[in-house]
């Protein structure tokens, strides 16, 4: 256990340069690339002296290394800047929109796992048979599907067949549960509000199916190829030789070992999930971080754009840390 603690400590320390690099990349992309926030926001006809004044106010005419220092020091204080558009601190805005994204992500992950893992196991079991081929074609086509298009096609079906499922927003007006965590499903469960629970779940239905299906394509492929590896292992042959039923061999012997490497891939899945959420949210008017980001882009609200991208960078760094720690816990062979 002591070795594990050392590993976790080292990993936490190693996270610092990784996050620093991510933040530096974000900073360079947003500050050094051509693009003038003042003129982008107020038009090119703004008088030069006013533009100059605004640049000074926003600290954009300092040398870039000083700007970089300001940026990092601000982040240390939890200062993500003030939105040009709403004049509110960006961090506050991020935290009002983030629960929606989190809720969508959780439910999409549930859909993705519920669809992806059984199909992956099934495809590996039927390896080389037509049903395996079908699963693989399905996985490729799902992965190739533009997520916003899938969402719109589902909406179209709902409209054409008059299915009573909402195609936009998170909840019907006046049905919001009391704000505790910002996750509507959890909040309505905590307050025992069945009406808003059903409404929230109904609103979650189409967006989480859209995002979940696209993610399941990756899960099908990962599960299938890992299952094929473990199915060829000696202990599986031994289990079969002992006359254990195929179903038990699949689940108890092959699947348990096949699922371990999937944890390693969670980081990649998570990146896909975040990017997919941006598009899904915009397709379904889901008031999450992705919708907020696009609103900020449309309004050229640079501090807010920078804040949201920085926030994404922090999440990515944090998740990769968690994934590594979980991996170390699951697999005692991993050593630092």
């Amino acid at each position: 256990m002591a070795a594990l603690k050392v590993y976790i400590l080292m990993r936490v320390i190693l996270m610092i340069p990784m996050i620093l690099i991510l933040l530096t990349v974000v900073f360079f992309i947003l500050r050094i690339l051509p693009g003038d926030p003042v003129r982008a926001m107020y038009g090119t006809k703004i008088p030069p002296e006013v533009a100059e004044e605004l640049l000074t106010e926003w600290g954009l005419n300092k040398p870039w290394h000083l700007q970089y220092l300001d940026y990092l020091l601000g982040l240390l204080h939890g200062d993500f800047g003030i939105s040009y558009r709403t004049k509110r601190p960006v961090l506050v805005e991020i935290f009002t929109y983030f629960p929606a994204t989190l809720e969508l992500s959780i439910f999409s992950m549930i859909v993705a796992i519920a669809v992806g893992i059984p199909l992956g196991v099934y495809a590996a079991h039927k390896r080389g048979k037509p049903s395996d081929c079908l699963c693989r074609i399905l996985a490729i086509s799902i992965y190739a599907m533009p997520i916003f298009w899938l969402g719109l096609m589902l909406q179209l079906m709902v409209i054409i067949f008059d299915i009573p499922v909402p195609t936009g927003s998170r909840i019907s007006p006046l049905k919001e549960p009391t704000h505790i965590t910002g996750l509507y499903v959890l909040d309505s469960l905590l307050t025992g509000n069945i009406d808003s629970l059903l409404d929230a779940l109904l609103h979650l239905f189409l967006p989480s199916i859209t995002l979940g299906l696209v993610l399941s394509g990756v899960i099908i492929r990962m599960t299938r190829s890992n299952m094929l590896d473990t199915l060829r292992a000696d202990y599986v042959t031994a289990a079969r030789a002992r006359g254990i039923t195929e179903w038990r061999v699949l689940i108890k012997y092959a699947f348990r070992n096949a699922i371990l490497p999937v944890v390693t891939m969670t980081g990649l899945l998570f990146a896909l999930l975040l990017a997919g959420a941006v598009l899904t949210e915009n397709t379904f008017n889901w008031p999450g971080l992705g919708t907020y980001l696009v609103t900020c882009i449309a309004n050229r609200d640079y501090p807010a754009i920078q804040g949201v991208i920085t926030f994404y960078a922090l999440i990515v760094g944090f998740v990769s840390l968690i994934v590594d720690i979980v991996n170390a816990l699951l697999d005692p062979r991993i050593k630092y």
């Binding site: 947003l30 054409i160 590896d229 990146a271």
Partner: protein, 303 residues
């Protein structure tokens, strides 16, 4: 410089690799249950189809894609086989010209990502040390970042345009090339023939250019196919969000985004066809990449 054997020249190497993969392809499809051959043929056919309509767009499209050529919201009919959109533009003509935009952006971004990623990967893997560690860390950080969000950030800063979108995509995909090339270089540089070249007094550039590069480049063929597939999707996402190519250029992603406002009118044809265009081209590149991967990396064929 000493005389080099002919098969070390990149061009000849490519010829060999292509011939080899084709002979393997014939072998595979004759095998019972070898699906790779069919996957590749399907992928290539889809790609040839879209490449053809992209190249022949001016001859195929019946109308000017940006002109108002009929009443708005016409459902598919003999005059407009894919109907018209809210501005009375012919959806089919926009579909045909959209393939050109999509392939152009994806191709351009791949070239840029290749130019950035491959030399850096070669140098990083070959020289090693601090340079390698720094470059790898930077590239890994970019690689870990959600691609679409990174592309959104870059595209927002650069503004609309074909080249700008291609650059934003290249930023996302350059680390992939870097990683593959670097890892391959690490193993290839330990080979005996590299040592022999060193012993003969070949310079670093010669070793990298003539001995390592031709041996690491085949792995790029596979990932570039998969990266193009991904790049088309990401580019469509950028257009959908509104940071893509300017509206006057016909573009599938933009057309889908534009059509979503008219879903309630049940104007399905405005979004269905451009979406299918994206879906099919991405499937084409994915199939090609996957089958190439299984054919060129026989160790994985078991999967």
């Amino acid at each position: 410089m000493n005389a080099k054997p002919d098969d070390r020249k990149p061009l000849n190497y490519f010829k060999g690799a292509i011939l080899q993969s084709f002979s393997k392809l014939g072998f595979l499809s004759s095998l019972k249950g070898g699906v790779e051959g069919y996957m590749m043929i399907t992928g290539i056919s889809i790609l040839i189809f879209f490449l053809a309509i992209a190249v022949l767009a001016p001859y195929i499209s019946p109308y000017d894609p940006n002109a108002m050529v009929g009443d708005p919201f016409l459902p598919p009919n003999p005059k407009h086989i894919m109907g018209t959109n809210q501005l009375g533009q012919d959806v089919f003509s926009r579909f045909v010209w959209g393939s050109r935009t999509s392939l152009l952006v994806a191709g351009l971004s791949t070239v840029i990502a290749f130019i950035i990623g491959v030399p850096l990967g070669l140098i990083s893997g070959f020289i090693g040390g601090k340079l390698d560690r720094t470059l790898s860390m930077i590239m890994d950080a970019i690689y870990a970042f959600p691609g679409l969000i990174l592309a959104i950030a870059v595209a927002t800063m650069l503004g609309p345009g074909v080249l700008n979108v291609a650059i934003s995509l290249a930023v996302v995909y350059a680390p992939t090339y870097f990683r593959v090339i670097r890892n391959q270089t690490l193993s290839v540089r330990e080979q005996l023939y590299v040592e022999a070249a060193k012993a003969l007094g070949a310079g670093r550039m010669t070793i990298m250019g003539y001995y390592i590069f031709p041996n690491v480049i085949p792995s790029v063929v596979v990932i570039s196919s998969l990266c193009i597939a991904d790049a088309i999707l990401t580019a469509a996402g950028l257009s959908f969000i509104g940071v893509g190519i300017s509206p006057e250029i016909p573009d599938w992603g933009y057309d889908v985004s534009n059509g979503q406002r008219f879903l309630t009118y049940r104007a399905w044809w405005i979004i269905t066809f451009p979406g299918l265009g994206i879906l099919l081209t991405v499937i084409g590149f994915s199939l090609l990449g996957e089958s190439l991967d299984e054919i060129l990396n026989p160790k994985l064929r078991e999967r």
